[in-house]
């Protein structure tokens, strides 16, 4: 969302100041979301929206990808009304309502905005892998482990720093020797990363000569793999 796309009536919202400030600050945050995470989210979304699901819901989600629906049997009437409610401002008032019931109207707005804030915060304010875990039950355990391993990386400030100066940050951090992909975890992905570098004839740092034999080869990949599967 940029400035020009912001609805004009936003300025006229008679909402609590803190809420307005919070919403305004959302635009200023630069959250780094790796493309792989985006892709994972999209693939997850596509998985849930694969053919065979109710077309009205699918259409709804495609229009508003931030709010994928998961109800298996949506109520057609509410399905029709909700978009209207979301789009309606206090003045437009397409919903029939009793005159003078401002309290109810503002309450509706409050709920809608609060829901938006919660949704946005949940989407942008946490570790990307934790977000995946929310969607994939099997990943929850992984995320728990990863969350401990990457506690620093999950904080927005550090994420921003990584975006701005990843090389400098990486240089500051201490990694295990076998942590080839520098994610603070020694696992099979490190062996995989090293194998890809070797196969891709890339320049491989001399520090990856784990067995000190003067060559970086399959034996070093096996070294990392063996370390990664140790309990």
């Amino acid at each position: 969302m940029n400035e020009s796309n912001r609805p004009e009536h936003d300025e006229q919202i008679d909402a609590p100041r803190e809420l307005i400030d919070a919403l305004a600050d959302l635009d200023n945050e630069h959250i780094f979301v790796p493309p792989s995470v985006d892709e994972a989210i999209m693939s997850e979304a596509r998985r849930h929206l694969k053919p065979g699901q109710a077309s009205p819901e699918r259409g709804c989600v495609e229009d508003q990808p931030q709010q994928p629906r998961r109800r298996p049997e949506p109520d057609p009437s509410s399905n029709a009304r909700e978009p209207e409610a979301a789009a309606a401002g206090p003045q437009s008032g397409t919903q029939p309502r009793s005159s003078g019931s401002n309290i109810i109207a503002w309450s509706g707005w409050g709920v809608a905005i609060a829901a938006s804030v919660v949704l946005l915060v949940s989407l942008t304010g946490r570790d990307p892998r934790t977000r995946q875990a929310d969607r994939t039950p099997a990943l929850m355990e992984t995320a728990d482990m990863a969350a401990q391993e990457e506690a620093g990386a999950s904080a927005p400030a550090e994420a921003e720093a990584m975006t701005d100066a990843p090389a400098a940050e990486a240089a500051r951090m201490t990694f295990a020797r076998e942590d080839v992909n520098r994610d603070n975890t020694v696992d099979i992905l490190d062996a995989f990363a090293l194998a890809r570098q070797i196969e891709g004839a890339q320049v491989v740092p001399a520090s990856y000569d784990f067995n000190n034999d003067g060559a970086i080869d399959r034996a070093d990949v096996d070294w990392v793999a063996r370390v990664s599967v140790k309990l």
Partner: protein, 817 residues
């Protein structure tokens, strides 16, 4: 989906309720079940089984999808018929059919053979080509390809679902153009003249006319569950990585358990074990031995396909494969590493192929016994090898492929034991394979090569893994030792005159001693001791080297014959239990095949009596007990040499005397120059003789280049030193098998002590080390179970794989005795 185990007994019991009738029925079923189990645990061809219903189920499969009338099927049918007749005959004479019935068998065989259309020569060629093509297409690739998880592991060597029983292929691969006439099809024992001619010409690539392993017209083909063995070795310097695939199949019509006792080099570090069923590869797990056995037995009785690899001796293993269904095949892949020997200027790769019959003194039960095929338990020993009788052949053949990278230019390369094909890749690299006509596994495969400068460029190899750094150092004797004169010596020859040494081996041993007598000098003394059931000797004490004494000794040798048992301890007592003359170096030289089962007793006896004596062991025959030979020499700080049947005893003795004609470098110490070395083996560095290197294997920490210094003392007291440059960061000196080799050496050292002296702590230490390094040992075993499906019925009949007696060993004087 919980697995439920049901037995016939349980099922029967569950279904019957009324008290007395049910109990009666249960008793009957139970008794029947016990009887069935007992019967099925006997070997299929045991005479005890001859008249049992189980026997009916072991007839060779005749027609699954093979063409009727194929040579194999004919043989199978003949065997089937023979089995039937033999069963009838067994009622009267359980051990062997009577002459009358034997004639009936032969008559049946002739009829069957006549009925079957003889394959045309072109058809034979086609089959041989097809078989060769199949082997090519299924041969393991040395390239790890693009399979990261594979890491160059074994590949499946067999197409899925291959029905061995029905496969219509010739048993022996035939080179087109060298197809012999039927008259030539004889089972020829390796000829010394042929071997010499091949060696002399240095041209092993030429086709030879010796038809080894070929079934002769009078030979019987005995169906066996082991069909083929593939050996793929990669040699890098003096370290070999060897992958062995044993193809088990079931040529019978009911389930079987195959039991195969086989040899491996005594320093083999076996650390991978994979069971392949079709295209599925199940990696075995190293377990404490008794636990592995329990797992295997439970799987076997439960009807699961399973395999178990146990070590009986450091160089003898037992492979069991359970629940092989009729016509099906299960492959077992092993991988081991071992350091190679350097003997008299030649590097040597040895792959043993058959366990030779061994003598076990009366009263011993823990040895390795030998029994005729079908006489299960006949030896009374814990481990038993069954041997094919003369004129019997199994279909088992072997292929050996070696990729040799010597690291320096190879000057000479040959095998005296087998016909080989060799392809030169570079000056340093050769690919070697067995000739198709020399694939009968009845003698050790020995490949030798000599390199430029008589030593390898890299004699210090390393490996690092996440646990430690490992090294192996091969030290060569300094040239300066050759110029010094030796001290007078007291030479004791101990010659094995047991039945297994009869004929060629004994002749070789005599030749070697005669030659040695000519090398003795006037200040020396000598003695000759013979042993079989007892020991006797030339004189009451070592005699001086005089012409009459030499003449008397040669006459004494001439009168020696091979007969009786191998009571080696008698020879040891006679050789070591007399007073030593301190003015002379005492050498005791054993000339024996070492085919005994009580190695521990022998080694203990040597250790207790050794004193200042140096022991040299000469392994004689085509399959000597290299474990015992090496251990004797190691204990006695001496050396070992092997006299193959194709070797000249005189030549070997000449080399031996050349070696002992120079003093050894003693009191050796190694200054590692800052390298952090720990747990180096052997713990006590032995003497260094001319012509024989010293190998030290250990763990280290450190990096970079440096010189290590080896110091030692010559016979005249002079101290000499030599520097060995090492480079710890050189990729060319890295070998991944070193961790296993080091662990194996440590286990061997501990096992030597454990074998001789009871120490429960040692057992636990060995077990722990073996489990840590996934290594076979006396206390650990590999087990693999395919729990994904149960086979139908009971667990089938146990079929020991009978093997031929080694080339040059007489069946009558060993197994048949």
């Amino acid at each position: 989906m919980k697995t439920q185990s049901h037995t016939a007994k349980e099922t029967a019991q569950n279904r019957l309720s009324p008290a007395f009738a049910a109990l009666l029925a249960v008793m009957l079923v139970w008794l029947a079940g016990c009887a069935s189990e007992e019967t099925s645990q006997r070997p299929w061809n045991s005479p005890d089984n001859a008249a049992t219903p189980t026997e009916e189920t072991v007839e060779p499969e005749v027609a699954v999808n093979g063409a009727p009338g194929s040579a194999d099927m004919d043989r199978a049918m003949v065997e089937s018929e023979k089995a039937k007749v033999a069963r009838e005959a067994a009622k009267a004479a359980p051990a062997e059919p009577s002459p009358k019935e034997a004639r009936r068998i032969e008559e049946t065989q002739r009829m069957r053979t006549t009925d079957a259309p003889a394959p045309h020569k072109s058809e034979l060629k086609k089959r041989a080509t097809a078989e060769a093509e199949m082997k090519r297409s299924t041969a393991p690739s040395s390239s790890p390809a693009r399979n990261p998880s594979g890491r160059g592991r074994f590949k499946s060597a067999a197409p899925a679902g291959l029905s061995i029983a029905a496969k219509p292929v010739a048993r022996v691969k035939v080179d087109p153009g060298t197809l012999p006439s039927r008259e030539e099809e004889i089972w020829v024992i390796s000829r010394l003249d042929d071997a010499k001619a091949r060696i002399a010409s240095h041209d092993n690539d030429l086709p030879i006319c010796t038809l080894r392993g070929r079934k002769g017209p009078d030979d019987r083909l005995i169906p066996m569950p082991l069909k083929h063995t593939d050996v793929n070795a990669a040699i890098d310097g003096y370290l070999a990585t060897v992958e062995v695939t044993q193809q088990f199949h079931n040529p019978f019509s009911s389930k079987i358990e195959a039991v195969y006792v086989f040899p491996l080099p005594q320093n083999a570090a076996v650390n991978e074990f994979v069971m392949t069923i079709g295209d599925r590869r199940i990696r075995g797990i190293i377990r404490e031995k008794q636990e592995a056995k329990r797992i295997y037995e439970a799987a076997r009785t439960g009807g699961y396909k399973a395999s178990l690899l146990t070590q009986e001796r450091p160089n003898i293993f037992t492979q069991k494969v359970a629940n092989i269904e009729p016509g099906k095949r299960i492959d077992i892949d092993l991988k081991y590493y071992n350091t190679l020997a350097w003997r008299d200027g030649w590097y040597e790769f040895v792959f043993p192929m058959v366990v030779a019959p061994r003598f076990n003194p009366a009263g011993s039960t823990a040895g390795v016994g030998s029994a005729p095929r079908g006489r299960h338990g006949g030896s009374g020993q814990a481990t038993e090898v069954q041997y094919l009788r003369p004129k019997e052949r199994s279909g088992h053949d072997i292929m050996v492929n070696v990729k040799l990278n010597a690291g320096v230019k190879i000057e000479e390369l040959h095998s005296r034991t087998h016909a080989i094909a060799k392809a030169r890749k570079t000056d340093e690299r050769y690919d070697i394979s067995l000739k198709p006509l020399d694939t009968l596994p009845n003698k050790d495969f020995v490949l030798r090569w000599r390199v430029t400068g008589s030593r390898l460029k890299s004699n210090f190899i390393t490996h690092r893994d996440e646990r430690s750094g490992y090294f192996s150092l091969m030290l060569y004797p300094p040239d300066s030792m050759k110029s010094l004169k030796r001290k007078p010596m007291e030479m004791i020859f101990v010659i094995d005159c047991s039945g297994s040494m009869r004929d060629a081996p004994l002749r070789q041993a005599k030749d070697a001693i005669k030659r040695a007598l000519n090398h003795l000098e006037k200040d020396d003394t000598f003695q000759i001791i013979r042993f079989s059931n007892n020991a006797s000797q030339l004189g009451g004490a070592p005699v001086p080297v005089t012409s009459p004494n030499i003449h008397r000794a040669k006459q004494y040798l001439k009168d020696l014959n091979g007969t009786g048992g191998t009571h080696m301890i008698e020879g040891i007592k006679a050789a070591l239990d007399f007073e030593h003359d301190p003015r002379r170096l005492r050498f005791v030289t054993f000339l024996t095949d070492g085919l005994i089962g009580n190695e521990a007793d022998v080694l203990r006896a040597i250790k207790q009596r050794l004193g200042a004596t140096r022991i040299f062991s000469f392994g004689v025959g085509s399959s000597p007990n290299d474990y015992l030979m090496d251990r004797m020499a190691k204990l006695g700080r001496g050396a070992v040499a092997y006299l193959n049947l194709q070797d000249s005893g005189s030549e070997i003795m000449d080399r031996f005397f050349e070696r002992v004609s120079h003093p050894a470098l003693t009191d050796i110490t190694i200054d590692w120059n800052g390298l952090e070395v720990e747990e180096a083996w052997p713990a006590r560095v032995p003497d260094l003789f001319v012509g024989r290197p010293l190998v030290v294997t250990g763990r280290f920490a450190g990096a970079g280049k440096r010189n290590i210094r080896v110091r030692g003392r010559l016979a005249n007291g002079e101290e000499i030193a030599m520097d060995v440059p090492i480079d710890l960061d050189n990729a060319e000196t890295v070998h991944e098998g070193l961790a296993a080799v080091w662990a194996r050496r440590k286990i061997a050292a501990m096992a030597d002590d454990a074998a001789m002296f009871h120490n429960p702590e040692l057992e636990d230490q060995i077990k722990g080390l073996a489990l840590d390094y996934s290594l076979m040992s006396k206390y650990t075993a590999f087990v693999a179970v395919d729990s994904s499906a149960r086979t139908a019925g009971t667990f089938g009949t146990t079929v020991p794989v009978a093997v031929p007696v080694p080339d040059g060993v007489r069946y009558e004087t060993t197994v048949g005795n």
